[in-house]
Amino acid sequence: MNFVVNGLILGSIIALGAIGLSLTTAILNFYNFAHGASLLLGAYMGYTVLHSFLPRLGLEGSTFPYLSFGFPMIIAIVGSMILTAGIVILIDRFVYKPLRDRGSGPLILGMSSLFMALMIRNLVRTIWGPDIHYYSHQIQMSRTLPFGIKVTPDQLFIIGFTIILVVLTQLFLKNTKMGQAMRAASDNLDLAMVTGIDTEKVVIWTWGIGTALAAVAGVLYGINVQLRPMMGWYFLLPLFCAVIIGGEGNFYGAMAGGLTVGLAQEVGTPLLQSLFDSLNLTVSMTGYKPAIAFILMVVVLLVRSYREE
């Protein structure tokens, strides 16, 4: 039962990341391999705001009841969203936009995003060091809920915060002009252009919203586990898997895909482990978690029916 809770937590984090990736894939028509790096950057930006900026303003130390962090963490999350989104929008202006204007295809854009991912990862390693970081060194006791579910208050916060953000994003996409334009552009970019929608503005908003959500996902992962320079890279496969399962540009699809991948990884691993154990095979499954996402993606690609364009 606890695997399910772990799956939901990981799934929430993947879902937040996948929403942004799904939107950029559909609107910009390339696979942004640097989206994992947005999670990474978000997590470390949060760390810097929390441990470098806020203490100078005298904001530190206080914690919410039960949680391992307090109000400064909320400021750190918001700060990380703004900073990370700003950096990625700048990258778009200086790297992807010139390429788009020159008519570069998805392959060129995808490859340059791969280089951006490597650059960001190594910059993070240079600036913050290769060691593992934690937002808080406090050890949290997990509490036992009905049905024997063990969960820490932090983990409940992660799920709750994700739900709030998903609802807010959905309201934005549904009820604002820019949100509707983002959906329109991801539905049919050519038509969006002939309709007069300012697609460049839509692109900036898409990067902004998608990256801000990824930044939160990075911080939430940091709260739940730890911060390390490779975390963005490890998220890339589950993120793409979630987007492909959910369908590019599909908001609910990305969410459902994220939860599916998270659950499959956390529930599938122990299930396969016990299967191998019962067959007396000495295989340790823990290293193969991402493989489950990969297998899932391959199965979906094989089974899914394709829309004709």
Binding site: K177, Q180, A181, R183, A184, D187, N188, D190, L191, A192, M193, V194, T195, G196, I197, D198, T199, N250
Partner: protein
């Protein structure tokens, strides 16, 4: 038609609208010149509701355009009942109405229609062409590319026959219909 609307760059010739050369302008600049375009295929946002499609048609409008939406629903009364429906769930004829409604949101003086009757059942073709005539009577000039030439020529003031990209015949709609040569070569007798 794609060239007129700035999706393709003209290699030769000029595109003139109201004495202004608009050749080479981008689509989002052209819509500000009071010209709208309904592409032949994928001309609606399928994952948006009918109302959202109309909102997108008015994307560049900063003013309150609720009156315009009411007018569109007067032209296409059927759409009002479906305004909260996803446009992709509507029938072909209804989708064509959404597409034209979307293009009319900017109150264009010129409307480009690319094969408005393509893929529609014959009775729907008549209905759509009726609407086209109605739109024209409200003072909108229409430029229509159509394979189903007979029906459209009947309601056209002017007609042009293009063959291999060159203009072969030019006359009033009625004139082309009565032209024996055009009839034999292009309209199937």
């Amino acid at each position: 038609m794609k060239t007129i609307f700035g999706l393709l760059t003209p290699t030769d010739g000029t595109v003139i609208l109201n004495d202004e050369d608009i050749g080479g302008l981008k689509p989002n600049q052209i819509v500000r010149k009071n010209m709208s375009y309904v592409p032949q295929t994928s001309n609606i946002f399928t994952s948006l509701t009918v109302l959202e499609n109309l909102n997108m048609g008015a994307f560049i409008r900063e003013d309150d355009y609720s009156d315009r939406i009411r007018e569109i629903f007067q032209i296409f009364p059927k759409l009002e009942g479906y305004k909260k429906q996803y446009a992709g769930k509507l029938s072909g004829g209804e989708q064509q109405m959404v597409a034209m409604g979307r293009a009319l949101m900017l109150e264009p003086t010129v409307l480009l229609l690319d094969e408005p009757s393509a893929g529609l059942a014959p009775n729907l073709v008549d209905m759509i062409l009726d609407k086209v005539k109605g739109i024209n009577e409200t003072g909108v000039a229409l430029l229509i590319v159509e394979q189903n030439a007979k029906d459209v020529l009947e309601i056209s003031d002017r007609g042009y026959v293009l063959a291999m990209g060159r203009k072969e015949y030019q006359d009033t709609g009625q004139g082309l219909l009565e032209n024996d040569e055009v009839g034999e070569l292009y309209l199937g007798g």
